[in-house]
């Protein structure tokens, strides 16, 4: 009788909570609250979606993924504590964080403990520190920006540039990268406008750009701030070409800024609108499950989980050391490994490369003007 009861209980547990029976723990440390919640929450949904897909099709090496989530509260100190906690709780691989200011701190803990970490951060500094356990899911700003700078210079013939950037860890990374490339390329910076996180009034910033005599503007802000800047720029009749990266031409900014986003262009690493069938299918499924449209953060999280699966299956066991070794210098093609969505390679520092796009906003939607090869 007791045995039967136990057996029934076990069956019930197996039916209702497959995750509880799982063996391999993946930890997602993300910005689920605080200033970065907009980015972190979307990343987390991308991660969840991939985990569910993988578990539905048999898991990794036959083992289900037990996904644990940890909220960094967009606080670097707290993210460090959370990474420590995730490691104490047996994380096989870490996913996150999205904000660079958190990743620079918590990757030290992952390194000390020898746990591979797939981050969504794009700040150049992350792969420049010689940490053998950190891997990107999207290439760093220093890889994307040269492509934008050469477009500004050769494509548009611009010589004088105004720079509008967010004075945060995120914005500073892009700003520094842009400034050094612009310097190499001989571009003159005629206005250097720093803005605050959560700034709402961009009148002074646009006025400054307008009066600077620039030929083109480089905009490196987060989503809402980008939209506010574009709206104000349209209002003041700023006629200059506005260029940026993934964020400036993202669907979110277009939705927020409306017509004001038309004409903005940017260099995009990942985009739900990319002319890649696999990404568009993924974005459609995402929309169906979560009720809003996927952005680059969702795709980063999604790819991250699949990378864990593919690399682990290549080495044939759950071994963190071998995982990190294998991923360095690895290339995964989308044809053989559909979960990575696009062909992708990692180098010895954990930096990655992938095809990218030059995008312009036309009539409220992204239009790919050029596909740029991986570098």
């Amino acid at each position: 009788m007791i045995r039967r009861l136990a057996a029934t209980t076990l069956t019930c547990m197996a039916l209702t909570a497959p995750a509880a029976m799982a063996d391999v723990v993946l930890a997602d440390v993300a910005e689920l609250s605080g200033a970065g919640a907009a980015a972190g929450a979307v990343w987390h949904d991308g991660v969840k979606m991939a985990v569910e897909e993988i578990n539905a099709s048999g898991g990794i090496l036959g083992e289900m993924i037990d996904l644990k989530e940890y909220d960094s509260q967009t606080d670097p100190q707290n993210s460090r504590a959370m990474v420590q906690k995730a490691i104490d709780e047996g994380a096989y691989v870490l996913l996150g964080t999205v904000y660079s200011s958190s990743t620079v701190v918590n990757m030290l803990v992952a390194q000390q403990n020898g746990v591979p970490q797939l981050t969504g951060s794009e700040s150049p500094t992350i792969t420049a520190k010689g940490n053998p356990y950190i891997f990107r899911t999207a290439f760093g700003a220093q890889k994307g920006l040269p492509k934008l700078v050469s477009y500004l210079k050769d494509g548009l013939g611009a010589e004088k540039i105004a720079v509008v950037w967010a004075n945060t860890e995120f914005g500073k990374g892009g700003y520094d990268a842009f400034m050094s490339i612009a310097d190499e390329q001989g571009l003159e910076i005629v206005a250097d406008v720093s803005t605050e996180q959560g700034q709402v009034d961009f009148a002074a910033d646009v006025t400054k750009v307008k009066g600077s005599g620039a030929d083109a503007v480089f905009v490196y802000l987060t989503e809402e701030e980008s939209a506010r800047f574009l709206i104000e720029a349209e209002k003041q009749g700023l006629e200059l070409p506005l260029g940026g990266d993934t964020v400036l031409v993202s669907q979110k900014v277009i939705d927020l800024a409306g017509g004001a986003a038309d004409g903005a262009f940017g260099h995009v690493g990942l985009s739900a609108e990319a002319p890649v069938p696999a990404i568009q299918e993924m974005a459609a499924r995402f929309q169906e499950i979560y009720g809003y449209s996927a952005d680059h953060n969702a795709i980063k999280g999604y790819i991250g989980v699949y990378v864990v699966k593919y690399v682990t299956e290549q080495i044939g066991e759950f071994d963190r050391e071998k995982f990190a070794e294998t991923l360095h210098g690895l290339c995964l093609s989308a044809a053989d490994y559909p979960g990575v969505l696009m062909d992708v390679c990692w180098d010895e520092t954990g930096e990655m490369s992938r095809e990218s796009f030059l995008v312009e906003v036309v009539d409220g939607s992204q239009e790919i003007t050029e596909s740029l090869p991986a570098n």
Binding site: A38, V42, T195, E196, A203, A204, T207, E224, L256
Partner: protein, 292 residues
């Protein structure tokens, strides 16, 4: 010159919104010694009332906006007073400060969790037509914000000094004991103040959100600025809060353009410190007003 006009007009437009929030802030302080650290969130939330009513429930915008004001008056006014301020009246200032800090977190988290962590576009009451004055671009919403905000504050001023209820409210704020002896229903007067604050917050929210976009974290900066505007202008005067708000809007733009964009937030802070040292009652405040 046109650059200067541009900065001044934009600053006044933004500043008029700060003023609305700052006036409400001042009213609450006068009536009940409530230092409302959730004031920024009070301005953030009504925009989401509108969004819930239009996007989720399909109501037309012209109906949703007045409904949102009513909801704000009921929830951010009456309910706030009834559930949080009233039970803590006798505990003094500090517990109430803590409770409003917690309330700010609560409102922010609720919007984020139950609506969206992402910014949302918001319908505008006015056409986005741009008028040119020289080289300066002034949009219709800029002017409308300024006129509506100033109009609201002057109407409030008239109400307070020109009607019986308004004068009773002022009496309650200045000296509740005497007011009570004179037969003023001070409980009711304090309630009115909270209702007015809810309405002011909702108006500010509807005016500002088309430009600022609706986002759960919008209250953080706004609350701080309203707070500073109220102190700079004079904590015991409504017109002080008005002047403080407009001043901060203009200073923010001028300092970003001519002083340093990296230190644009510093100037209001320095102004605050200087005012406290030189003229602690605020620019327009009166010294004999109640001590803060």
């Amino acid at each position: 010159m046109s650059e200067f006009i541009q900065l001044i007009v934009s600053g006044l437009s933004t500043g008029s919104i700060y003023a609305l929030a700052a006036v409400g802030f001042t009213l609450l302080w006068q009536a009940s010694q409530t230092i409302n650290f959730a004031q920024g969130e009070f301005v953030m939330v009504p925009a989401f009332f509108v969004l819930v009513l239009t996007v989720k429930m399909g109501l037309p915008v012209w109906l949703a906006m007045p409904l949102a004001v009513i909801l704000a008056v009921l929830i951010l006014g009456a309910l706030f007073k009834r559930l949080i301020v009233e039970p803590m009246f006798r505990h003094g200032t500090i517990p109430l400060v803590i409770a409003t800090i917690a309330l700010g977190i609560l409102l922010k988290e609720m919007v984020k969790e139950f609506y969206s962590p992402l910014g949302q576009p918001f319908p505008s009451l006015f056409p986005q037509t741009v008028l040119k004055i020289g080289n300066a671009s002034i949009s219709v919403p800029d002017i409308a914000n300024l006129i509506i905000a100033m109009g609201t504050i002057f109407a409030l001023q008239l109400f307070l000094s020109g009607t019986r209820t308004g004068r009773s409210m002022q009496a309650t704020a200045q000296n509740p004991d005497v007011a009570q002896i004179l037969g003023v229903d001070i409980k009711r007067m304090v309630l009115y103040t909270f209702l007015i604050n809810g309405a002011l917050a909702a108006i500010a929210s509807i005016l500002i959100t088309p430009i600022y976009l609706a986002k759960f974290s919008n209250g953080e900066t706004l609350g701080l600025v309203a707070f500073i505007a109220a102190i700079v202008g004079g904590f015991n005067q409504i017109r002080g809060a008005l002047v403080g708000g407009l001043l901060l809007g203009v200073i923010d733009n001028l300092s970003a353009a001519y002083f340093s964009s990296e230190y644009r937030q510093a100037l209001p802070m320095l102004l605050l410190i200087v005012i406290i040292l030189v003229r602690p009652q605020g620019l327009l405040g009166t010294a004999e007003g109640r001590t803060v």
